[in-house]
Amino acid sequence: MNSLAMSRRTLLAATAGTALAGRAFAADPLVAATFGGTWGEVQKQVLVPAFTKRTGASVNLAVMLATEQIAKLTAAKGGRPPFDVAILDEGPALDAISAGLIAKYDSAKSPAFNQLPSQFQSAYGPAVTMQAIGIAYNPKTVKVPPTSWDDLWKPEYKGRVGITSLASTLGLAFLLDINRLAGGTEADMSPGFAKLRTLLPNLAAVSANFGAHGALFQQGEIDIGVQNFNFAEELRAKGVPIAFVRPSTGTPAWKTSMHVVQGAVQPDLATSYIDTQITAEVQTRMEMAPWNVIPTNRDVKFEGLVASVIAQNAEELQKLVFFDWAQVNKSRATWTQQFNREIRV
């Protein structure tokens, strides 16, 4: 009896010990955050095998929105972060850096870092791609291909247009761009909101997040709307009736970057994982259909849809429309509240 109790206690202690030790072992896999959709797939199929071949280490991919990554890192601040590598759009990245959640990037341990043009380098980690947005439409129901955002306001698309809320960078960049075209700036969003209010009769759906937005084209809920270049092309490759065009007024775009998180369990593996992502070899493969990931490594030739739709070369990327995300972050809370108030049923 006594020995049984003892062994039970030992077992308990051992179990608790294992749980506490958690990911402390040297053989722990790298845990890397990734976005859902295109990014989760392309990183699983291209980056992870390349990284494992290079280092022999394994990777656990954790699918999370940028905001979820920041929330989890904030909650774990000072302790053991739940993942080693973060992937963030420009706005959230600036937030995470200023909140002290991101470690400095050790570029000495990242040979591919020097192959990036300076605008894709940062002390906190490299930009791994650019995301560009434009107009997606259903070619079966929209006979005249749209050319600019203004087409979304056409009366024939009453109740057929889809956008996302400001929770997604997609919706935020759309609002920033119509604001820019209406004469506003990042410091003055009122022209953009005034313009957006006039879109209300045409709106069929305002998705609460990017994931829900993607399904709308597939189910024929909307005929035309704002969409991310990569995602639209991926849907098209899957046979969904969808076509993507750049607005004639310029293509809004932003950087997506990868970072080693502060206090990462595997900082060296994390650096080498990010380095693998920015090698010419991996980016060349990611640029192929159906992924069409815009490369940031200067040694990668612009080919396929990236070349024909977005830019012929790295210089042309500079002509896309960019926003001041530091300024955007200051007002995002106010805009979200205003969006809640004005874009209602």
């Binding site: 979820e68 929770a167 998705s207 609460a208 189910q219 809920e221 995002r332």
Partner: protein, 277 residues
Amino acid sequence: MASLRLAAPLGGFFALFFVVPLGLLLFTSTQAGRQIGGGFSLEQYAGFFSDTLNLSVLWNTLLVGAKATVLCLVAGYPLAWLTVRAPARLQSVLVFAIVLPIVTSVVVRTFAWIVILGRNGLVNTWILELGLSATPLRLLFSEAGVVIVLAQVQMPLMVLPLITSLQRIDPNLGSASAALGAGAWRTFFKVTLPLSVPGIVAGTILTYAACVTAFVTQSLIGGSRLLYMPMMIYQQALDLQNWPFAAAISVIFMVSVLLVIASLVAVSRTRAAQAAA
């Protein structure tokens, strides 16, 4: 003493994983500014109540929950009644069918509803073919859609307590009522319904609490133009990283739902007391 010790593990579990987080939530909600550590302040609460948008979101959430719960009750009661009356073999089939939704993820069920309620969905195809409407109805991204889906998704929470309470009613009471000359409807309203009130109250509380907090269903079926409290909490906590305000609206929401439930219980108690007297 022994029973107290038996309850200790669960009590400890609750203390650790329910009471402590709840205390943390309360603490966070009384912090000034956008970060924990801003010092004690009630500004988050003041901020919530000073904006009519927030109040209308709270009201809409409580209301949509009430509508879905009523629909659940109206549709679920006959189902529960039928299940109790059914022959044994059919009864087990019915109970299985009622429980089945619980074993499927709520996300999957909600996406299935998107397919059913969509413009090209099942419901709209029928409506168009039957000539009830010339154009597809807007069911998705509307409050009606949210109510319908909430009612289906949460139905088991209503029906199971109803079945339990209907089963407890002595069938002889119905026979006695009939023998005394009451018709089927009169027997139902005078005997069955009053005796099933405990089931109705239990089912209503469970369903209501589940409906108002159903983040997935509300946001997927309602979209961003129908804003409810869970989405608002998510926005503040995740999109905007404003934890003190998110905590404050969580507390306000929790208290509001508790008040609704408490008044429901109070009303049913007075009713029960009146019936007894």
